[in-house]
């Protein structure tokens, strides 16, 4: 028996709580009553990501996409769509009055655009043939046989592509510097260091589609006149390294890498260089030093790598995601690419959406999308009915964005204007249980560890900032500390040698800016409202709520909770290590944090 129709009912928690289950049952019931049970299958699915318009019901193969469905609508969906094969017009999702119901045409689905991730999750990364079947190496074809180096630059300039490694420098402009310089040797380098905490999009791209980066670097070689390149990748990414190696071997065998590519007189080859995983080695001058076998420490710019890079030769250095865009830009044209994104930030950005978010994952969205759309539409909102507090973007170089900025369009310039940064694309969502002093402390701790120590403002500044934050988190801060941190932060921004020290104060400054009251609470009242700063919290048990289930006592690692079964329990404060296990384990909300 072949099932002809599929009715997908959203079983995500948002839709579920909006009667999703009743809809599911009514559909089953109606299918039975109307005698079509055998012709269709009714299925509960995961969240469609469109909770705003939920509950959602989708009918396949018609692709009818019904929104805000009520249990009573089941009858009509079955009788019209399944029995008579007509869609139920009034339930169809319509975009701005248009009768468009195909998912491809629904704006929500267009909230994600897959350009960088076009092949990720679709093709076997270890098969060059599958990449080729999806128009792989078509950009290279064009770059070798149809375009001059100037025309390649034209396409890049038209595309408006800006570097995805953080700072957003126009890629076409960068390549043109290297291209214009006369030199016996030039290099193309890929920055796959990805040191930002919470970010993994470069790893995912290399693991899912290594050929796209190889193809792009070869195009860069052709454009600027380089015949050698290197991919600098951290050794902690063994799978990405392995897949890159396989891909490079396959490309060489096929004549797409190495001598006389596709029978032309252009030759280009790549090698992999492993990084030891120091954050500062992601900074371009430090990275190049590291490839040369020296200690990975930044040097002052100018000269920029474009003019004087690897072994003193002109070098193009770009991020993984930047490269992954390039084959499509060349094969489809810069104008095609420029239709995505905003005026000054073209194309898409891949984010690693993590933290307190329902649908954590790797998303690719057009520039200009708002934070609200990312967090609530794509990410499905905050789990556990908690309240949204902030999003941290840009890693240690960025800042936190509060509710007030949920409607800010996400692009390079507007993020900077609200005190954060695009960075490489880590996006960490926080809810009311996160303490902002703690968050700032986390990033500072990271920078203390990762500063290379070459220059004093960064080496001493990060440490001092950390110490002040630590003091505040222990309830021992005083009001002058705020100004001290601000002054020190400004000084570090101006005087540090590289981006690490220049941006390390950003998370603190943005927390001071957006959550000053919370910081002041720590200072004046010795209170941490999120209950994260251990020295300030106290766990206690509410006698009236505790039913004596003993769960907390069993979970407590130091056995400091006592009490008989069915009798209210007590915490011995002198021994409590404030791990919060009792709080997390109590099903009756009897454990209090203060």
């Amino acid at each position: 028996m072949a099932v002809k129709n599929y009715v997908l009912v959203c079983g995500g928690s948002a839709c579920e709580s909006a009667k999703g289950n009743d809809i599911y049952k009514s559909l089953l019931h109606q299918a039975e009553v109307q005698g079509v049970s055998n012709d269709l299958q009714i299925v509960k699915t995961g969240c469609f990501g469109f909770c705003e318009k939920g509950p959602i019901v989708k009918v396949l193969p018609d692709e009818a996409f019904y929104v805000e469905v009520k249990p009573d609508d089941a009858e009509e969906i079955i009788s019209e769509n399944i029995v008579k094969g007509r869609m139920v017009d009034r339930l169809l999702y319509k975009e701005e009055g248009k009768k468009d119901f195909k998912p491809e045409n629904i704006k929500f689905y267009q909230k994600q655009e897959r350009i960088v991730l076009r092949n990720c999750g679709l093709i076997d990364p270890e098969s060059i043939d599958e990449y080729i079947a999806r128009d792989g190496y078509m950009g290279l074809e064009k770059a070798l046989f149809e375009l001059t180096p100037e025309q390649i630059l034209d396409e890049l300039n038209k595309s408006g592509l800006r570097g995805r490694g953080g700072a957003g420098f126009p890629t076409g402009l960068k390549w043109s510097f290297t291209q214009r310089i006369e030199s016996d040797q030039k290099y193309v380098v890929c920055n796959a260091d990805e040191g930002d905490p919470g970010a993994y999009m470069d790893r995912a791209t290399l693991e899912g589609d290594p050929h796209s980066v190889i193809e792009a670097m070869t195009i860069a070689g052709k454009c600027v006149g380089a015949d050698k390149g290197a991919i600098y990748i951290r050794a902690e990414y063994p799978l990405a390294i392995k897949r890159l190696e396989i891909a490079m071997d396959q490309a060489r065998e096929r004549g797409l890498l190495g001598d006389n590519i596709l029978g032309t007189d252009f030759s280009f080859d790549l090698e992999i260089r492993l990084g030891a995983g120091a954050f500062v080695c992601g900074e371009e001058t430090a990275l190049l030093a590291s490839i040369e076998g020296k200690r990975g420490m930044p040097i002052p710019k100018p000269p920029f790598p474009a003019a004087k890079g690897l072994f003193g030769k002109p070098t193009v250095i770009n991020n993984v995601e930047t490269y992954a865009n390039i084959p499509v830009i060349i094969s489809k044209g810069g104008d095609w690419f420029a239709q995505f994104g905003t005026e000054k930030s073209k194309g898409t950005k891949v984010f690693a959406l993590t933290g307190k978010i329902k649908n954590s994952g790797l998303i690719e969205v057009p520039m200009g999308i708002t934070l609200r759309e990312i967090v609530f539409d794509i990410g499905g909102g905050i789990p556990g009915g908690k309240k949204f507090k902030a999003v941290q973007t840009g890693g240690p170089s960025g800042g936190v964005l509060t509710e007030d900025f949920l409607d800010t369009p996400i692009d390079f310039d507007s993020l900077i204007s609200v005190g954060s940064m695009m960075g490489s694309g880590g996006m960490i969502v926080m809810d009311e249980d996160d303490c902002m002093v703690d968050v700032a402390k986390f990033y500072l701790d990271f920078c203390v560890e990762e500063s290379c120590g070459k220059c004093a403002p960064c080496r001493i500044g990060t440490k001092k900032l950390y110490e002040i934050l630590d003091k505040i988190s222990k309830g021992k801060g005083d009001i002058e500390d705020l100004q001290k941190m601000k002054d020190m932060g400004q000084a570090m921004k101006k005087a540090s040698l590289c981006g690490l020290g220049q941006t390390a104060p950003n998370p603190v400054l943005s927390v001071l800016n957006a959550f000053e009251d919370e910081v002041l609470e720590h200072i004046h009242n010795g209170k941490c409202r999120a209950g994260k700063c251990k020295d300030l919290v106290q766990y206690s048990i509410d006698e009236s709520k505790c039913i004596g289930c003993t769960v907390c006592a069993r979970k407590c690692p130091v056995n400091c909770i006592t009490g008989d079964r069915k009798v209210a329990h007590v915490i011995d404060q002198s021994r409590c290590v404030k791990c919060g296990a009792c709080y997390d384990s109590c099903k009756f909300g009897a454990v209090l944090v203060s």
């Binding site: 689905y109 076997d124 079947a133 993994y200």
Partner: protein, 130 residues
């Protein structure tokens, strides 16, 4: 495998595209794609592949191709498996363990019935179309 010229590259691309198209039109082969990035593997994707292979052998179905791929973007429900089977809409399954993988073989591939509770629709429309 030898080095290619432009002509050969183009021929290969056409051939591979046709192969993919044929698979769909002849309605014979089922394609199962398993998300196998670092995180997918960490979440147990290897067990899923083993279970798929084992169960396919048990039911004696040789028309199925299993393929690994990178991140599908649905990291919160890993391991993920996409099934493209003739006559059934392409389906993405999430939170797949060995047991669910076996169910996918018996229920989806053999019987043509989706495995309830593990279906995750793809949130993104793929814009790069052949």
């Amino acid at each position: 495998m030898s080095k290619m010229t432009l002509e050969e590259l183009r021929k290969l691309r056409e051939a591979k595209k046709q192969e993919a198209a044929q698979r769909d039109t002849e309605g014979k082969d089922t394609l199962v794609i398993v998300g196998m990035g670092t995180c997918g593997i960490a979440a147990g994707a290897k067990d899923v592949v083993d279970a798929l292979l084992d169960e396919l052998k048990k039911v004696g179905n040789e028309n199925v191709i299993i393929r690994q791929a990178g991140c599908m973007g649905l990291c919160h429900v890993e391991p993920t498996v996409e099934v493209r089977s003739p006559g059934i809409p392409n389906t993405i399954y999430g939170n797949v363990d060995a047991e669910v993988a076996r169910k996918i073989v018996r229920q989806h591939i053999v019987d043509g019935r989706l495995v309830n509770k593990h279906v995750y629709d793809k949130p993104a429309a793929d814009i790069i179309e052949q």
